[in-house]
């Protein structure tokens, strides 16, 4: 009988664990100005590449900046890139997927062809080209990641809409004269949200990885603005002397991505009715 979302969330350790990680990251990012022991951009020429110590828990980088402070501020960067780019991707994906699923036929065929084409492009190449041609501001990075990662959501929404467009409640809404937009937004979309939310959570993990890779390659977030990827880039340049520059930011990315993945997969189990009775709870 314990089948409310709340109890299932508590019972699902994956989702719970992932949720805790995501929440702590959120707090770390918001409270960074209070938590950070130093100014993340304060250069200290006398303390270059200092080993982790009580004064600098995660050591300092090649300009003597405190790595821990930079990582705390970097959490905000990676979080906002993740949320904004996935927001963009989800919005586009819902619009395109809904149009394909609701109108069907030629509209659907044309849209799905376009989706297939987008899926065949090595998107990382395209992202790299666009970011390198534009200037690598954080807004450009968000926009480009969003514009190249909406295809999964579009497919999901389309499939949901195709399977629902002839249900009684949709036909009833149509018969009572509701507009297409109203049927899509009010009657059909709320019923299709679960898979969209799951894929958005997993999408944030992917976006965090892409952002860190771009910053690592030197075309993402530009120093002095701190990001986990650009700290790692400094780590590569000082590989032989400063292990702390590579180890800590990488761990942060790992934990973040794992947090979102656990939350997403956990939510998938929670929303999947086939699993509700399978486990004895």
């Amino acid at each position: 009988m314990n089948n409310t979302i709340g109890t299932r969330l508590k019972a699902n350790k994956m989702a719970l664990f992932g949720g805790i990680i995501v929440l702590s990251l959120f707090f770390a990012a918001v409270l960074a100005p209070l938590l950070a022991p130093y100014d993340p951009e304060a250069v200290d020429r006398h303390n270059v590449l200092a080993r982790p110590s009580r004064a600098h828990l995660f050591g300092t980088d090649d300009l003597g900046r405190d790595v821990m402070a930079r990582m705390l501020y970097g959490a905000g960067i990676s979080l906002s890139v993740g949320f904004v780019s996935v927001g963009i991707a989800t919005f586009i994906g819902i619009a395109i997927g809904a149009a394909a699923g609701y109108y069907g036929k030629a509209v659907d065929a044309a849209i799905m062809r376009f989706v297939d084409i987008m899926l065949s492009i090595p998107t990382f190449f395209l992202i790299l080209a666009v970011i390198a041609f534009l200037d690598s501001s954080i807004w450009n990075i968000m926009a480009v990641i969003g514009l190249t990662s909406w295809m999964g959501v579009a497919r999901l929404v389309r499939a949901e809409f195709l399977s629902r467009k002839n249900r009684e409640y949709v036909l009833a809404a149509k018969a009572s004269g509701a507009s297409d937009l109203r049927i899509i937004l009010v009657h059909m979309l709320p019923n299709s949200l679960a898979p969209v939310i799951i894929s958005a959570v997993l999408g944030i993990a992917a976006a965090v990885l892409v952002e860190s890779a771009l910053s690592f390659l030197g075309i993402g977030v530009q120093p002095p603005t701190p990001s986990w990827g650009n700290i790692l880039s400094a780590g590569k340049d000082n590989l032989e002397i400063a292990w702390w520059l590579s180890v800590f930011p990488g761990l942060a990315i790992l934990v973040t991505v794992m947090g979102y993945n656990l939350l997403g997969e956990g939510l998938r189990d929670i929303f999947d009715p086939r699993l509700w009775n399978e486990r004895s709870r």
């Binding site: 534009l134 993990a205 890779a213 390659l217």
Partner: protein, 323 residues
């Protein structure tokens, strides 16, 4: 069969044109021009000389016209001339870099399959066991490890700390003097880490997909029938189950090719491997449009070839699609 092939070929042509149109449009509509980079290098360049250069490269024409001209040349396999100061043919430049990228990707694909499929099967068969739990945790961690970070850690451990493996490039300093056998060993030693890194994420992903696909298949009636006939559990899983469980994996492998190609930029940069990914990075930085487009086109061709292979593989595993 013939209509199926015609349909597939037509689809591939449409997809190819779509990919190249999207890439071309994005690259040429982005603000700034390649002549900006040239002007940066040579600040004395006059506006007249710039206009002349733009005209020489056809950059003054509308994008649609530029694409039409580009496409006309590409069907005759003419990729044009690089904008860089050496003015070499784009195709020649790509040809030097392509093989090493292909070798690394194919080797890592084979390793992914060899490791991930058995892991996926055994954790599905022993579901909820300790083994299954350990591999599940491993998969979640493996999924989340950024490839370039793993590369840095391995370089630090095997290269800097243990001095066991070289950390960059393809060949050691004294490569030319080595015997044939020595050369093979030298290149292999340079490739161990790049191949492992590029396979790592795939192993996690594919073993996860294999596990859920196998779990799906195990519940099927024909599996119960096979067990009821008295076949050994091994035979039931590996003969009756595996074939069906492999179908979604084939599709996923086909879909993962663009990602593999894209990922080569990262690990080729990290390991300083002179492959196509590194070439792409350099071409993007210098706004070498013909080279950028050439590599994106080769990427598109590789993706389509991979999809075709996936379709053929699907037909090989599933006789129903052959009709």
């Amino acid at each position: 069969m013939l209509t199926y092939l015609t349909k597939k070929t037509l689809e591939m042509v449409v997809t190819f044109m779509g990919i190249t149109i999207i890439s071309f449009a994005i690259i040429h509509l982005a603000p700034g021009k390649p002549t900006d980079v040239m002007a940066d290098l040579n600040p004395k360049i006059t506006p007249e000389a710039r206009a002349k250069l733009e005209k020489y490269y056809g950059l003054d024409k509308p994008v649609a016209v530029q694409y039409a001209l580009w496409f006309k040349r590409i069907v005759m396999l003419d990729f044009g001339e690089s904008f860089s100061s050496d003015h070499r043919q784009v195709w020649v430049k790509i040809k030097e870099r392509l093989p090493i990228t292909l070798y690394i990707n194919i080797a890592s694909l084979l390793i992914i399959l060899a490791i991930a499929i058995p892991i996926g099967i055994s954790s599905a068969v022993k579901r909820h066991s300790l083994y299954d739990r350990i591999t599940t945790v491993g998969v979640f961690v493996g999924f989340a490890v950024p490839g370039f970070w793993l590369a840095l850690l391995l370089m630090m451990f095997f290269g800097v700390y243990l001095h066991l493996l070289p950390v960059a490039g393809l060949k050691s300093a004294g490569f030319a003097e080595l015997s044939f056998q020595g050369k093979v060993i030298d290149i292999a030693r340079h490739l161990v880490l790049p191949i492992f890194v590029s396979a790592f994420g795939g192993i996690a992903a594919i073993s996860r997909y294999m596990r859920s696909s196998m779990l799906e298949v195990i519940r099927k009636d024909y599996m119960a029938t096979a067990r009821a006939k008295g076949l050994t559990p091994k035979r039931v899983i590996y003969v009756h189950g595996l074939r069906n469980a492999l179908l979604p994996i084939v599709t996923i492998l086909g879909l993962s090719i663009p990602g593999l190609i894209g990922g080569s930029v990262i690990f080729e940069q990290v390991f300083s491997i002179p492959g196509m990914g590194q070439l792409f990075y350099m071409s993007v930085m210098t706004r070498d449009y013909p080279l950028v487009m050439g590599i994106l086109t080769i990427g598109a061709v590789l993706t389509l070839a991979g999809n075709l292979l996936a379709d053929l593989g699907y037909a090989a595993v599933d006789p129903r699609t052959r009709r």
